[in-house]
């Protein structure tokens, strides 16, 4: 069965199945969402208006047995940044979409009346239903309610109250194999889904399976790929401590933004470290190692139980723990887990929201370290849409503007995550130049040498640093376009069998003959496509800048400042 584009028009409530255009066929994940957004969305449109489109796409290998391939991408014009946006997540939806032959789901238009809907996807197409019962509910109630109505085998994409209220930090939540949720976070795609008046999307693939053109070659390549992933020492660290293993390291480097980016080390870092979290999880009978989707062999996720040993939350990542922890000076993992759970339920981004709290603390709205008040504001203000709740729910920039705070760590209005760019300059270049606002995942480490984008300038010169950062972003865009979990990148960096095995799997799945150069070119073209969209939306080189305070306020303990000139940053796009 050939893959199809599933299209839904929410203005006239029509649906269609379309053939996949030839030039979209080689894309998956971010490559496909960004290609579709660039082709079909007017760059100057209002992100919450009828002309924006919300696109979901599985990875190229989703639905197959390929390790770590079950990531789903969502794309749109972001209401937080105004730029093009792609976000990806684990959960069960990518596999369901791929198995039902959905190359991409495109949702366009906007209902004229004040009625809420849900979508139901099967291999036969899309049905649009009106929805009353679950409106106003959080994600956990939605998952429970939809499973009761349908089956616990289906995939579910949903929004919580934040998405319904179109807050700029709202997520789209993705049901995971345990009927908890993962998040398509950053950039406010939940608000776009809310603007289309869709509360949830149910995905029922039935018994459908993905076709593999050359099953033997696929199996052999998957074996090599999986071995490279499992054997890599970074995978071992991720599987034991999750990405939160980074707290101690980044704190030691003086790059752990603390108290709204006023320091680079947090006194309470040991209380929130990956090491401590691991021990607490084990002590309470949780799971320190857990996959966000079936088929993940690294398993950086975890199940965190409360003091009584009952489930509290899962999949807490370093960046979320940093944001609710060091940035707000909260040194209690149980309080952080409680907040993580609430934010998952409301369906709002943990990084953006917690950085917004840090700015609010700076502005005197609540004291630094007051996690009880943070929890109250999340449950009683954000979830209910009070004025304060909406100010915070619209992100760190919104809080800064409202309370006259000048130390507002955002780029293109998106909160800077867990690595201080004064102490770790290479990440600062990514924050400044990313096509999607400050985002640490845009320049993740990956096999620049294997992809032939190792760079030629003196690596210690600023020119060399910009070149390396550019190449990392190209390589990352390439991996993102396969739709694989980005954590495969570490093995791909060090193990020369890993990336070729990934390419072999794609070739065996589709009966094509991609090579590394094709993958690199894909990365270049995705980055250029996204940049061109942003320029057409009105962004200029002056938007590729870090906030002024990074240049003027040295960050202790090393007292470094950000010292890249605008001209140096602008050279990023000379390719």
């Amino acid at each position: 069965m050939a893959d199809k584009i599933f299209r839904v028009n929410m203005t006239d409530l029509s649906t269609s199945l379309e053939d996949v255009p030839a030039d979209w066929a080689g894309h998956g994940g971010r490559g496909l969402t960004s290609t579709i957004i660039a082709a079909e969305v007017p760059p100057a449109c209002h992100p919450l208006g009828p002309n924006n489109k919300l696109v979901f796409a599985p990875g190229l290998l989703s639905g197959t047995a390929a390790s770590n391939s079950g990531r789903i991408s969502a794309g749109a014009k972001s209401p937080l940044t105004g730029t093009i946006k792609e976000s990806n997540s684990g959960g069960t939806s990518a596999q369901r979409l791929a198995k039902m032959g959905c190359k991409a789901l495109i949702i366009e238009g906007q209902p004229k009346d004040d009625v809420w809907y849900s979508l139901s996807l099967t291999p036969e197409g899309v049905t649009i239903n009106t929805e009353d019962e679950l409106i106003g509910k959080g994600n956990f109630a939605v998952v429970e309610g939809v499973e009761k109505r349908c089956s616990d085998k289906i995939g579910i994409l949903s929004i919580g109250q934040a998405g319904e209220m179109q807050m700029s930090a709202a997520n789209i939540s993705v049901k995971d194999p345990d009927s908890h949720v993962r998040s398509l976070g950053r950039g406010g795609l939940g608000a776009v889904m809310g603007s289309k008046k869709i509360k949830f999307i149910a995905l029922d693939a039935g018994d459908a399976k993905v076709d593999i053109a050359d099953p033997d070659a696929f199996r052999a390549a998957n074996r090599a790929f999986t071995k490279a992933l499992v054997d890599h020492p970074v995978s071992q660290a991720l599987g034991t401590y999750g990405s939160n293993v980074l707290v101690n390291i980044i704190n030691e480097a003086g790059g752990l933004p603390t108290k709204n980016f006023s320091a680079g080390q947090f006194e309470g870092h040991e209380q929130i470290s990956g090491e401590t979290m691991h021990d607490i999880i084990v002590e309470r009978g949780g799971k320190p190692k857990h996959g966000c989707h079936s088929g993940c062999v690294i398993q950086c996720s975890q199940i965190y139980n409360d003091l009584k040993g009952n489930y509290k939350t899962s999949g807490m990542e370093y960046e979320s723990i940093w944001a609710m922890g060091a940035d707000c000076t909260v040194d209690n993992l149980d309080q952080i887990a409680e907040m993580d759970h609430i934010l998952d339920d409301i369906g709002i981004d943990t990084i953006e929201t917690a950085v917004a709290f840090g700015v609010a603390m700076e502005g005197g709205v609540l004291p630094f370290g007051d996690s009880d008040e943070m929890i109250r504001i999340m449950s009683e203000e954000i979830a209910k849409g009070t004025a304060l709740g909406r100010i915070i729910g619209n992100g760190a920039g919104s809080v800064g503007r409202t309370y006259g705070v000048t130390r507002v760590p955002v780029v293109k209005n998106q909160a800077i995550p867990a690595y201080d760019p004064r102490a770790i300059k290479g990440i600062g270049i990514t924050y400044a130049t990313s096509t999607q606002g400050a985002d640490h995942t845009m320049g993740y480490t990956i096999a620049t040498e294997i992809l032939g984008v190792g760079g030629s300038a003196d690596p210690l010169s600023k020119e060399g640093q910009i070149e390396l950062s550019r190449n990392l972003q190209i390589a990352t865009a390439a991996i993102d376009s396969t739709g694989m979990c980005l954590f495969v990148a570490f093995a791909a960096l060090d193990d020369e069998t890993c990336l070729p095995a990934l390419i072999d799997m794609i070739n065996a799945r589709f009966g094509i003959s991609l090579n590394a150069a094709d993958v690199t070119n894909l990365g270049i073209s995705i980055l250029k496509t996204e940049h061109a969209f942003n320029q057409a939306a009105g962004f200029t080189n002056l938007d590729d800048r870090l906030p002024e305070f990074f240049e003027t306020e040295p960050v202790p303990p090393h007292n470094a400042v950000w010292d890249f000139s605008g001209e140096e940053i602008d050279s990023f796009w000379n390719f």
Partner: protein, 213 residues
């Protein structure tokens, strides 16, 4: 010593450190391994290399040091070379396995992404006094897999911790107290309730763990 031989050296206490012997329930010393993320203290000679210092620790051998230790910080600055000489009168050293993310790659020793570090010239470094004969005080922090693999042996052998850091550890890991069967502080049997306030006022404590039967 044969370079591959596992060292069983003891780590000498910091002079003046109080003595603490904790007897744990069977099988539980490993539960204390993250204690050493806060570091333990010992004196060594100035001019020793990083490699020599690590080789002198209980349970560390050259293969382990070369293979497992992929991220090293000295006074908060990433280090690339094990033959780096340790100078001055004190140093805070942190060691870790290979770490994820771009930041992890940037800080990895001799990593290809090291050029993306903030240059050390633009950072304020600790001024070093190399003129005296005083020994070098090391605070060594063991992170992640290194802590999991090596802390237990070090804790059984005995190592010196700061009293406040041990006190803080027991505050946020209260359930661990149920794993402590017996506590001897400076040779006297002491309850954990009595011990905890003492920790806050004791600069250094030489802690040894032993497993009960």
């Amino acid at each position: 010593m044969n370079r591959k031989e596992v060292s069983h050296n003891e780590i000498p206490p910091i002079p003046g450190a109080a003595d603490l012997l904790l007897t744990t329930t069977p099988g539980s010393p490993g539960a204390f391994s993250s204690l050493l993320q806060g570091g333990f203290f010992f004196h060594t000679r100035r001019g020793i290399t990083l490699n020599e210092m690590l080789c002198s620790l209980p349970g560390f051998d050259q293969d382990y040091i070369n293979g497992r230790i992929q991220t090293i910080f000295i006074d908060g600055l990433p280090a690339d070379h094990l033959n780096q000489t340790l100078i001055g009168t004190s140093a805070v050293i942190a060691i870790s396995a290979a770490m994820p993310g771009l930041a992890g790659a940037i800080f990895r020793k001799n990593g290809v992404h090291a050029s993306l570090r903030t240059s050390q010239e633009s950072m304020q470094t600790i001024s070093r006094n190399n003129d005296t004969d005083t020994p070098l005080l090391i605070q060594l922090k063991l992170f992640n897999i290194i802590a999991e693999e090596k802390s237990e042996q070090i804790l059984r052998t005995g190592c010196t911790l700061s009293g406040s850091s041990l006190g803080k550890f027991f505050n946020y890991r209260l359930p661990l107290l149920t794993h402590i069967e017996n506590c001897m502080f400076n040779g006297k049997k002491t309850s954990m309730e009595q011990l905890r306030p003492l920790l806050q006022t004791t600069e250094f404590i030489h802690l040894s763990l032993q497993e009960g039967s």
